[in-house]
């Protein structure tokens, strides 16, 4: 096992823990994005570039973006409802 692979494994272990420890959903989405990128580096280090690309687009971009959109929508709807009362 090379140094790059070990570093990537450690980064993924720390990243996964950080996602669980982040309590606020918006922050958690951003931490999950960084974690997704660490996973992509891990896949690349273990010679799976195709999976790494998919991981970047899904785990580091699409999933956190969808979470942020949904949160924004929920927060905004809450503000609108309060305003009407």
């Amino acid at each position: 096992m090379t140094a790059v692979q070990i570093t990537a494994l450690v980064a993924v272990a720390l990243g996964g823990t950080a996602v669980v420890l982040a309590r606020e959903p918006p922050k958690q989405a951003l931490v999950a994005s960084v974690y997704g990128f660490a996973l992509a580096v891990l896949f690349l280090a273990f010679q799976a570039p195709d999976v790494a690309l998919s991981q970047i687009v899904v785990g580091a971009v699409a999933l956190p973006a969808m979470i942020i959109y949904a949160l924004r929508k929920i927060i905004r709807r809450g503000e609108v409802n309060r305003g009407e009362r």
């Binding site: 096992m1 273990f46 570039p49 195709d50 790494a52 690309l53 998919s54 970047i56 687009v57 899904v58 971009v61 699409a62 973006a65 969808m66 959109y69 949904a70 924004r72 929508k73 905004r76 609108v80």
Partner: protein, 275 residues
């Protein structure tokens, strides 16, 4: 029940104290149960991982077969693309429709919600800047063209190098989304972005199915290749695989942009502009 739990119940005084003791004991009981579960899970996991083949030592026949067949049989150098778009093409077709269906479902829900609030997803004026910092706008604008080129490159080289329609489609979506973040919404003037993106999603999803149908008519089986394979490692090679990659790229880009536009409707942006 644990020893602790029984003692706690026995020692408890009648009344409120007993109630409290029962709560403590059930908490302890849960921790013991959780601990046993974790230990059992860890033991089975370590046992399982210990039995895995070493890295680079995979002996599965299917993988070996694909690694040796893709270039001679399909003249395409990316074994992963050949597998997803050719050997298991129908599987990929269904996967593509998962995204299509999910996007249509979310859009339908959001549009029903918005119908009661009368807020358009599409901007009416296309000149309102979304980002307020000039430096941020310049940086984002400078990134649009390189991202677009990268996306096109990843889609078109899907059958030669890692990547393909799915990954490239998300990059293309990011490029167009940068226009929206840094410039003037998704305002591309007379192009009507939402209409164009809906068309891209539909054309992409239908394109995949129709290429498969062409295989059925011309070559005799659904998604059977019906084009010349070309020379290996050339841009035009791999038969219908590049066409399928382009179809998936269009579909993914359109679906994600529609989702983004529906989530971040006009009112959200107006609200942010006023902050």
């Amino acid at each position: 029940m644990s020893e602790h739990g029984q003692r706690a119940v026995r020692e408890a005084s009648p009344g409120a104290g007993q109630e409290q003791a029962r709560l403590v004991s059930s908490e302890r009981f849960r921790m013991v149960l959780f601990g046993a579960g974790v230990l059992g899970f860890a033991a089975v996991l370590v046992w399982g991982l210990g039995g895995l083949p070493d890295f680079g030592d995979f002996a599965g026949r299917y993988g070996q077969y694909l690694a040796h067949t893709t270039v001679p049989a399909r003249h395409a150098t990316s074994a992963v693309s050949v597998t997803t778009f050719d050997f298991r093409g129908v599987d990929t077709l269904v996967e593509e429709f998962i995204l299509f269906t999910a996007a249509v479902g979310v859009v339908a829900l959001l549009r029903v919600q918005r119908a009661s609030e009368e807020v358009p997803a599409e901007p009416e004026s296309t000149r309102r800047p979304t980002a307020r910092s000039g430096a941020l706008r310049s940086l984002i604008t400078a990134l649009v063209a390189p991202t677009l080129v990268l996306g096109v490159d990843i889609v078109l080289h899907g059958h030669l190098t890692p990547g393909g329609g799915f990954q490239g489609g998300v990059i293309l979506m990011s490029a167009l989304f940068l226009v929206y973040l840094g410039g003037t919404h998704l305002g591309l003037g007379p192009l009507r972005p939402m209409g164009a993106m809906e068309a891209a999603e539909g054309v992409g999803a239908a394109g995949f199915a129709l290429i498969g149908l062409a295989g059925l008519i011309i070559a005799g089986a659904y998604l059977q290749n019906f084009l010349p394979f070309g020379a290996p490692s050339h841009l035009v090679s791999g038969g219908a695989i590049p066409l399928l990659n382009i179809a998936v790229g269009l579909e993914v880009m359109g679906a994600l942009l529609i989702l983004a536009a529906e989530f971040l409707d006009q009112r959200l942006l107006m609200h942010r502009g006023k902050l």
